[in-house]
Amino acid sequence: MSLGRYVLTRVLVTVPVLLGVTALTFSFLHVLPGDPIDVIVGFRTVSPATEASIRAEYHLDEPLWKQYLLWLRDAIALEFGRSPISGRSVTATIGRRLPATLALGGAAWLLALAIGVPAGIVAAVERGEPADELTRLGALAGIATPNFWLGLILLLVFSVRLGWFRVIPPDAPLASLAMAKFMILPTITLGTASAALVTRLLRSSMRRELDAPYVRTARAKGLRERTVILKHVLRNSLLPVVTVAGLQLAFLVDGAVVVEQIFSWPGMGRLLVRSILQRDYPVIQAAVLVIGVSIVLANLLVDIVYALLDPRIRY
């Protein structure tokens, strides 16, 4: 199968999944107990005029399937209406929050690679040696540490006690030095578990590569071990590591929900928790949808990139 056809098939498979994601997000409002209108206004008493306008805005008088289609149409146009709680445009709110979470998640992912790749190499090369065992335990420790615990302790020690960092984000644009400095602790908190996963993954994928015939050939040719490992083995073993980025996204979002809470980070995770507490359903819906669709699309992208990079894998 050609690359083009593979990509096409892959995209086509994604469509029903996306529809499912939107349907699930949409139905959320309707499986909650009570009239959706009460749910939307947070069970407050509202004037009949307001109620009518909300009914119109959410098309509540239409049959359910039509509500879904109308909602879907608005969602595709990124038009999520206004939050009944804050009266602000939901799209604008999310547009402001999303970059913050992307920045934090991106930084954490880079950190995970920066720690996980060298550690994975050492573990694979020193197979069975103390260094390997040590890395393995280190990685397990990273997985076993509750991230909010780690975050709180970092915050306590480095911000509150030592005063090196701020406790709440500075009043500065996202792309500024002050923000970058503030991001250090949340990045470490969020990146630790991912680093552990990268380590374990790279270790096993490198081990397989190390036993591959071409490595034996390269060694036989008298290439330096360092060259063999860094130039050949690592390059091939990194592929699977990078491709799990899409899957790690879900993992990072989970972490972000908690970490943003600790560091008052103005991202999607905090928005989600806050809107749950306030029962701001239009915001919850939009946030959950954005997260779900991003993950589906990220997986699609990764699959396509993977197929591009590795021509063996195509149908």
Partner: protein
């Protein structure tokens, strides 16, 4: 009873043991030991409860729940109450925690659904005694219309409340409210547990001479309130304070949460103000006189400008009041308001439909807004506009709220207070975690906080780098009994429970001494209504019989 090494009171039941059993179903029968659970009343409180159980023909232990909303302090409060009630053997108690909004629903529907739960709720009153009783105990205020959550109904109490409201003679009012309080404690539809206390902490480098306003909503009055003769020396162009939650509304007709009031305190002004000691002071009104029992003539201050450039007139006042019609806060105005006759631009007669004791104090909470908002050209929810010393700059939900100095503010300076507000901008950071508020203050991210964990207050007070001011506030924590359910229909049971509440322990171990034990509804902030001698007498008679 061999094999029982629990070392606890025989009669005490353990609900948790069922859950704990999950981990050890395998050992069933290994060391089976059965003992019976007999319950005997011990002490006056338990005797009352026993009598009440017998009267209602309910077999102890009675299973019930303490329903709370989230929060460390609230859950600790509940845990101590749970232990106190379970120790009697008459109750088998669990604690359920709800999200705030769910909790509100439960409160609103508790009586209608016959919810078997004790609710722990904080109530914030104000400067008038009516604020502490009317909406909670009057039979016209049953949920969902009011906040009489357990649908308490007593003609005597209704009469006291109505009379107190319409009484304008101060001494008579004191009498009425003292009798009312005693009646409420004797009947115990709820237990009053703790009077709240405002605790304000600031960074001594940036702030000096801060005064704590007793009511939470007025926290930021201390920045600059020339009408009360108060302002704070602030170092630097920007003052950074904090808010404990998001601001949910900025239009006065729909504001009813603390953060919203705190945030808009420096933006809006009313005709009168209540200063830091509880005296009524003129704000937008220059002076007023009572023409007859229900009519007041007001003269407005000259040259007052709104942030949008409009000049204050009597018409603004009339329209601002009438805006409340059909809004969530309608009763704030229409509880007394009949009409306003405009005499000239600066003079008007306010007619009340009844004599109204709290009249002058009520005007404090009724901001005057510009025509642009009244006509609907401007939306106060997206941009609050008032006459205050600071004007709205921007708001990012979840992040911060920012105000900037209003250059055309009416105040011209006096001996004690300068003509210009102290800081160019006021920024309030929204920080929901109490621990983070303290952290942010210690690191210097904020200059001031009104929500530092109570446990840290004594340390901070001892540290020269910080200033702390504490004042007994206008609110209380209470336990609401399900009057409509089980043994709680009987007032003896409620009185017994009221006696059992470990007020001291709760105050010391949950709130670290912040506040005082409460026995009556009206805060000692209103000294005339609740003084020490009165409180002591009530406590001795009904709560701690020796």
């Amino acid at each position: 009873m061999a094999g029982n090494s629990g070392g606890r009171d025989e009669g005490r039941l353990r609900r948790r043991s069922l859950l704990e059993g999950v981990g050890a179903l395998g050992v069933t029968g290994l060391a089976g030991c059965i003992r019976s659970n007999d319950i005997e009343a011990d002490g006056p409180a338990e005797e009352l409860i026993q009598e009440g159980f017998e009267a209602t023909e309910i077999e102890p232990p009675f299973e019930t729940t303490i329903a709370i909303t989230e929060g460390t302090e609230r859950s600790r409060f509940a845990e101590l109450l749970e232990v106190a009630l379970e120790d009697t053997g008459f109750f088998d108690v669990s604690v359920s925690e709800y999200k705030w909004t769910t909790y509100l629903d439960r409160l609103n529907t508790a009586a209608a659904n016959d919810a078997n739960a004790l609710f722990i709720v904080s109530w914030t009153g104000g400067w008038d005694p009516d604020d502490y009783v009317n909406v909670l105990f009057h039979s016209e205020n049953h949920t969902p219309d009011g906040l009489n959550i357990n649908h308490y109904t007593s003609d005597t109490v209704d009469d006291y409340i109505d009379n107190g409201l319409e009484e304008t003679d101060p001494d008579e009012r004191v009498d009425i409210y003292r009798q009312l309080q005693e009646h409420l404690v004797a009947d115990s539809p709820v237990s009053f547990v703790r009077v709240s206390e405002a605790s304000h902490v600031w960074n001594a480098d940036a702030v000096s001479g801060w005064r704590a306003y007793p009511l939470e909503s007025g926290t930021y009055n201390a920045v600059y309130a020339p009408w009360a003769g108060v302002y704070t020396d602030l170092d630097g162009d920007e003052f950074v304070g904090d808010l404990g939650s998001d601001i949910s509304a900025t239009d006065p007709v729909s504001m009813n949460d603390t953060a919203s009031s705190q945030a808009t305190q420096l933006v809006y002004e009313g005709l009168t103000g209540v200063d830091f000691d509880g005296s009524v002071r003129p704000v937008l009104a220059e002076e007023w006189e009572q023409l007859d029992a229900t009519t007041y003539r007001f003269t407005l201050r000259d040259g007052v400008q709104f942030h949008n450039g409009e000049e204050l007139t009597a018409d603004h006042v009339k329209k601002s009041f009438e805006r409340y019609e059909g809004t969530p806060r309608e009763s704030d105005v229409y509880d007394w308001y009949e009409t306003i006759d405009i005499v000239d631009d600066r003079t008007m007669d306010v007619h009340c439909w009844r004599e109204y004791g709290p009249f002058e104090k009520r005007l404090f909470d009724l901001p005057i807004v510009p025509m642009a908002a009244i006509d609907g050209d401007r939306d106060l929810e997206s941009e609050p506009i008032g006459t205050g010393p600071y004007r709205f700059a921007d708001y990012q939900p979840g992040d911060h709220w920012r105000l900037e100095r209003f250059d055309d503010y009416w105040f011209g300076g006096s001996e004690g207070v300068p003509a210009t507000p102290p800081a160019e901008t006021v920024r309030l950071e929204i920080i929901t975690e109490a621990a983070s508020r303290q952290g942010a203050l210690e690191v210097g991210d904020i200059d001031f906080s009104s929500g530092v964990p109570s446990a840290s207050l004594s340390d901070l007070a001892a540290d020269d780098a910080y200033g702390v001011d504490r004042r007994i506030g206008g609110g209380f924590d209470m336990v609401i009994y399900p009057l409509y359910h089980g043994p709680f229909t009987n007032e003896l049971v409620r009185r017994g429970c009221n006696m059992l509440i470990p007020r001291r322990t709760i105050l010391e171990d949950v709130y670290h001494g912040l506040g005082r034990p409460a026995y009556v509804p009206i805060s000692p902030l209103l000294e005339d209504y609740t003084d020490e001698a009165f409180e002591e007498r009530i406590a001795e008679e009904y709560v701690q019989p020796t």
